[in-house]
């Protein structure tokens, strides 16, 4: 039975559920379980739930080692930028081991980190930096946009035999949504059509999904039917669902909080140009963050980010072009 809980509550519920069903799941990281009353510590004990020093290389490296030794660690990293302190372990250790050993070693671990905290956190804590991880072979990347997906993707992340980067969006933390109780698993590599439509395909991730849905609602009042797709995982990336939608609409707008050249949208645009060029009736339009470090001050922060108006504008732009009507 589903009931409304918060996005962060859903993530915690998934970790709790997976720790209950599998004794090899561990949960450690910074600033967790420092008091006796901590719910995870109370439920699972100090063998499986531990606070670590502020040592990202050791935390992530230990997760790699514990995974190689048969456990399934979930590392609490707080902020995605903290991964940057430990890039060798994130990129060049965990994801490489299975291949380098000819399949002898598996590294099932979850790196849990928040991202996109564009709420006055200025230059170093606001990034949507998944673009630098989604192209790492061996590493999977999940970007849930709803509470239900957050729970289901975390369950899949923990059960996956590969390293998974689970990025939760800070601005969605307290958003509530219907979340199934008990077992709820959302498979990786399956995009979700958040709103069906026929005129324009909009692909959005994370916090951009509610922005895209709001834009779709606004456009519907003008009789424009927008389909909104959330890939949910960007590695693996469900291109068939996106191409199927483009085959129907012929028009594609990609919405991404990341900077343009570090975005998922750039990758999707490339794939659609490669695999689905003949389906397009207008050029692909990308609505991304502008290529700059996010400023602290609110008007400047808002200026560089995609928003509802920019999405609406992009949809209208692609509707104003029709390649079929353009002389060759």
């Amino acid at each position: 039975m589903a009931r409304e809980i918060s996005y962060i509550g859903a993530i915690n519920e998934a970790i709790h559920h997976e720790m209950t069903r599998d004794d090899t799941v561990l949960y450690f990281g910074q600033n967790i379980a420092t008091t006796e009353g901590d719910p995870f510590l109370t439920a699972f004990g100090s063998d499986r739930v531990r606070v670590t020093p502020i040592s990202e290389t050791a935390e992530i490296g230990m997760a790699v080692g514990a995974a190689m030794a048969g456990y399934r660690p979930v590392v609490e990293l707080y902020m995605a930028e903290f991964l940057l302190v430990a890039m060798d372990q994130v990129v060049n250790e965990g994801p490489r081991m299975h291949t380098m050993t000819g399949g002898q070693v598996k590294v099932p671990l979850v790196l849990k980190a928040g991202y996109g905290f564009t709420a006055g956190w200025a230059g170093q804590h606001t990034g949507s930096i998944y673009g630098m991880f989604m192209g790492v072979p061996g590493l999977k990347v999940a970007l849930p946009a709803t509470a239900a997906d957050a729970k289901g993707l975390m369950a899949s992340a923990i059960r996956d035999d590969n390293p998974v980067l689970f990025l939760h969006h800070y601005l969605l933390t307290l958003d509530e949504g219907d979340v199934p109780e008990g077992e709820h698993v959302v498979p990786f590599g399956e995009a979700d059509v958040k709103r069906a439509g026929t005129d324009v395909t909009v692909v959005a991730t994370g916090w951009m999904v509610p922005r895209a849905l709001a834009a779709a609602l606004q456009l519907a009042a003008d009789g424009i039917s927008v389909e909104v797709i959330d890939p949910r995982t960007i590695a693996p990336l469900d291109m068939p669902t996106i191409l199927e939608s483009v085959a129907k609409t012929g028009r594609l707008v990609l919405v991404d909080q990341a900077t343009r050249h570090g975005s998922v949208s750039a990758v999707i645009a490339g794939e659609v140009a490669d695999e689905g060029f003949s389906l397009l009736r207008a050029p692909i339009k990308q609505v991304t963050a502008l290529d700059t470090t996010i400023a602290y001050s609110k008007p400047m922060e808002e200026y560089v980010l995609p928003d509802e108006a920019k999405i609406v504008g992009a949809v209208r732009d692609v509707l104003n072009v029709d390649r079929a009507e353009t002389p060759a």
Binding site: P53, G65, H98, T101
Partner: protein
């Protein structure tokens, strides 16, 4: 042999086993090195040899028992040989063949044999240290009495990964022994050029004090001395008292690795850096006089553990075994190209 306890309580079979493993490692490494001249082009990329470190490797592993686990660096040929890995599979891996230990996906720097506890290696300096610490955390909560031995070089102790890991290992009293093989060179940089302790004339084991764990320095050319220190450290780890840093002073007898060269330039092993870079032939010749393999042979023969004839037999058997490894590696097929994606994901 005035010390009545010179065997450290090891029986003759175990002592001969140690000598045999040291001899096998040396022979294997010499055959890897010879491949560069005998069969140019067969070994690609970068290869690092453990010759000179045999006593340290075997002395350390003698202190372990089945079920213990090991993580090492790119200089990783010695450990699996002593743990029982088939040298034919190892040589085939180094030759990039489908019969290799890692089916040709890893090569010289990334050997792994999890069935024998050798759960992984990292080609990036110091990055196996947190991984070994994580394996030790796993061992601690599994509660089966396992100990992890983590092998790395002196250069690794300049990395944050080393300091972060030793802090947590000591804080959590993890069952791990950190074995630093100090060969006094980080590629072509001498230790006293990059290490504050070394520059101050202190052993590198003093770093352990910063993490409230014991630190000892031992002659890494003497397998029994290494065994004695690692045995104590393993016992401490197994008892739940926590980690130890063992600095094992070794002298690698080959250069850091084969030359780094663009395609078209035949790969080979240059002279050791003492000679090639610093022009210090005396240092290198002195090190060769202390070569741990003949040194241990002398110890065993003098101590009446092994006859000279038997020692020759051990060497002859190793030569035959490693020749077979070379032949097997050369004769084995390459992997089908399209299998390149087989293990991209588990």
């Amino acid at each position: 042999m005035t010390d009545p306890d010179w065997t450290k309580g090891l029986d003759n079979d175990r002592l001969v086993w140690m000598f045999t493993q040291m001899t096998r490692i040396r022979e294997f490494e010499e055959r890897v090195k010879r491949t560069f001249t005998d069969h140019p082009g067969v070994i690609r990329g970068h290869t690092h040899l453990a010759d000179g470190a045999e006593a340290s490797i075997v002395g350390s592993l003698t202190a372990a028992k089945p079920g213990d686990q090991y993580l090492a660096t790119y200089r990783c040929h010695g450990y699996p040989l002593a743990l029982g890995t088939d040298p034919r599979a190892m040589m085939a891996e180094i030759y990039g063949k489908t019969t290799g230990l890692c089916k040709g996906y890893g090569g010289s720097m990334h050997l792994a044999d999890p069935e024998r506890g050798f759960i992984g290696t990292s080609g990036i300096v110091a990055q196996n240290i947190p991984q070994a610490t994580g394996a030790a955390y796993a061992a601690q909560i599994r509660g089966a009495g396992q100990v992890v031995l983590c092998f790395f070089g002196d250069g690794a102790s300049k990395q944050g990964a080393f300091h972060e890991s030793l802090n947590i290992a000591s804080l959590w009293k993890l069952p791990i022994v950190f074995v630093m093989e100090n060969n006094n060179y980080n590629v072509v940089t001498r230790t006293d050029q990059e290490d504050a302790n070394a520059a101050a004339g202190e052993p590198l084991s003093v770093k352990a004090a910063a993490f409230s764990m014991p630190g000892v320095t031992v002659d890494g050319g003497d397998p029994l001395a290494v065994y004695g220190e690692v045995r104590s450290a393993v016992a401490r780890a197994r008892s739940g008292a926590g980690p130890t840093l063992v600095e094992s002073k070794v002298y690698r007898l080959s250069a850091h690795g084969n030359i780094i060269a663009p395609p078209g330039v035949p790969l080979h092993f240059p002279e050791h850096e003492a000679v090639e870079v610093f022009g210090d032939a005396e240092e290198y010749e002195a090190a060769k006089l202390g070569d741990p393999v003949p040194r241990f042979r002398g110890t065993l023969v003098t101590g009446g553990v092994l006859s000279a004839q038997d020692a020759d037999g051990v060497a002859e058997a190793a030569r035959t075994e490693m020749q077979e490894a070379v032949t097997f590696g050369l004769d084995s097929p390459f992997p089908p190209p399209e299998t390149a994606l087989d293990y991209a994901y588990a």
